[in-house]
Amino acid sequence: MTNKVKTVAEVVQTIPDGSHIALGGFAINRGCIAVSHELIRQQKKNLTLSQGVVGLDTDLLVGAGLVSRLIMGGGSLDRFGPVHCVNRARESRSVDAHDYSSLTICFRYLAGALGLSFIPVKSLLASEVLERLEAGSAAKDVQRMKCPFTGEEYLLLRALNPDVSFVHVQVADYDGNSQIHGARWENEEQAKAGRRVIVITEELVPTEYIQRFPEKTIIPAHRVEAVIHQPFGAHPTAVFQCYDFDADHLRLYVDHVKRVERVPEYLKTYVLGTKDHWEYLDKVGGLRRMNELKADRVLGY
């Protein structure tokens, strides 16, 4: 067994500007926040970001001006508000946004994960979502076609293979066997489509523990390049059975970023003004706050 454990700073140093990065969060759940913060600290530029339903992890990167292209199925911070930075960047056309749906993003990753160059789907037909893809820089990624067997109309989607896929999980061993508890949206397809796969784990466990529940392993070690052990690495988003989302901090975030001129203030205080995720956690309330957010063992939040 190999020890693949690295710090988030070490991993992010290996990512060139202009990379295509996929993040595993969904709205306010299991966001790759420690990764987004480090990408901002190291000022990685001109990124392509892909995600099924973009959440806080991607909104931070867009707000910091690091993203030039977004490939997304939708986006929200649930009842805390919209993804203000993403929506504003789309309105000002400072990002080239390719808008899909949840299933079609998942299928693009699935094709990539299966080693296929394309995949047919029955969504997006007869919609303006498809018309806009066909009219823009995504035209090379979509194609209408009739089934050669039945004649039924399909949309073909080009496979999506991110340069680096990040996913935040509850449990991983030193070798990268990763287990996800609760719903997992397009995490498996997104991770396995990645040319490089990095997991961020709440808890680092011995392989012996993984071997007790092998059916829970969603991403197997042979696909994983590095394991980042970062407890509370998804704060202020939720990690099921570990901790709830931090409603106070999510409100504070939205209060800042809903006005473009206050985005730098948030980034300066909580990201650029902290040297790593531990210092960030101290700044947002430290051990006392994290303990308040800790999940109830029965409820899981």
């Binding site: 969904f26 709205a27 306010i28 759940n29 099924g52 339903v53 959440g55 997304m72 199925g73 939708g74 986006g75 929200s76 911070l77 649930d78 009842r79 805390f80 919209p82 993403v86 929506n87 789309r90 309105e91 808008d99 899909y100 749906s101 949840s102 299933l103 079609t104 998942c106 299928f107 699935l110 789907v121 029955k122 969504s123 997006l124 037909l125 007869a126 919609s127 303006e128 979502v129 039924e152 109309e153 508890h181 609760g182 719903a183 997992r184 949206w185 397009e186 995490n187 498996e188 397809e189 939720a238 099921f240 709830d244 989302f245 999940a295 409820l299 899981g300 939040y301």
Partner: protein
């Protein structure tokens, strides 16, 4: 019956559109409230799917969104987009897709992507997420939203999720499922003509006036000579909504 809120009439009317034993893909907000109400009353065998990858959860606390782990509690299955939207919706086994929207037109086309003001300035919202997939693939689609002229429009600002686009049939459009079935507002229940797909008023809520509905509907609406009245929620339905399903009024207001 005084003191019943418009959202409660909507939720109860939505719940009644669900039959016991059906499979439903549920959007968050009032669709979620209506489907939970159905499951707790006449449809205990409802299969309740969330796009994020949750089946048949029994939340103890009202979730603040689809990604809230409150939605994961006591589920019978934790799974993925591929499973819920691929292997259930696209597979063709989902009876009902239950959705909210920013705008709808008279053929049940939905916009959840953007709004334009009078000067043409665009404001972006959440986009499709699972909305397009659900509207494209569920057997019948139920939409629930506030009845306002700026929301019920002659033409939507962006066609995110197709209904009967241009009044055309679903097969002609290349889509699966039978398309929009009901539009439930805080004033009325609206259906779609099986042949022409045009919107038609099915019933008016007790609190609403017909002239207001006509005034606040931006698309042509066929009005029957006698307009039935939507039944009010029962006291037990109101109790479930207020005390158990959404006691903090996150969605019921």
């Amino acid at each position: 019956m005084s003191g019943v809120r418009g959202t409660e009439i909507m939720a109860a009317a939505g719940a009644r559109e669900i039959r016991d034993g059906e499979v439903v893909v549920v959007g968050i907000g009032l669709p979620w409230v209506a489907c939970v109400l159905a499951k707790r009353t006449h449809a205990p065998r409802l299969t309740f799917l969330l796009e994020i990858g949750v089946m048949n959860a029994e939340p103890k606390d009202t979730p603040v969104g689809v990604a809230d782990p409150r939605n994961f509690y006591r589920a019978t299955c934790w799974t993925s987009f591929r499973d819920v939207m691929g292997m259930s919706l696209q597979r063709g086994v989902v009876d009902v897709g239950f959705l909210g929207t920013l705008e709808i037109d008279g053929f049940g086309n939905l916009n959840t992507t953007l709004l334009k003001d009078e000067s043409g300035k665009v404001r972006y919202f959440n986009g499709s997420a699972g909305g397009n997939d659900t509207a494209s693939l569920a057997r019948r689609v139920i939409v629930i939203m506030r009845h306002e002229k700026r929301k019920l429009r002659q033409a939507v600002a962006h066609l995110t999720s197709p209904g009967f686009v241009g009044g055309r049939g679903r097969r002609e459009l290349g889509l699966r499922g039978d398309g929009p079935h009901r539009l439930i507002t805080d004033n009325a229940i609206i259906g779609f003509d099986p042949d022409t797909h045009a919107a038609m008023l099915l019933s008016l809520h007790p609190v609403a006036r017909l002239e207001d509905v006509v005034e606040n509907t931006g698309f042509p609406l066929r009005i029957p000579s006698e307009v039935p009245t939507t039944p009010l929620p029962t006291p037990e339905e109101v109790r479930l909504l207020q005390e158990e399903i959404d006691p903090k009024g996150i969605y019921l207001g």
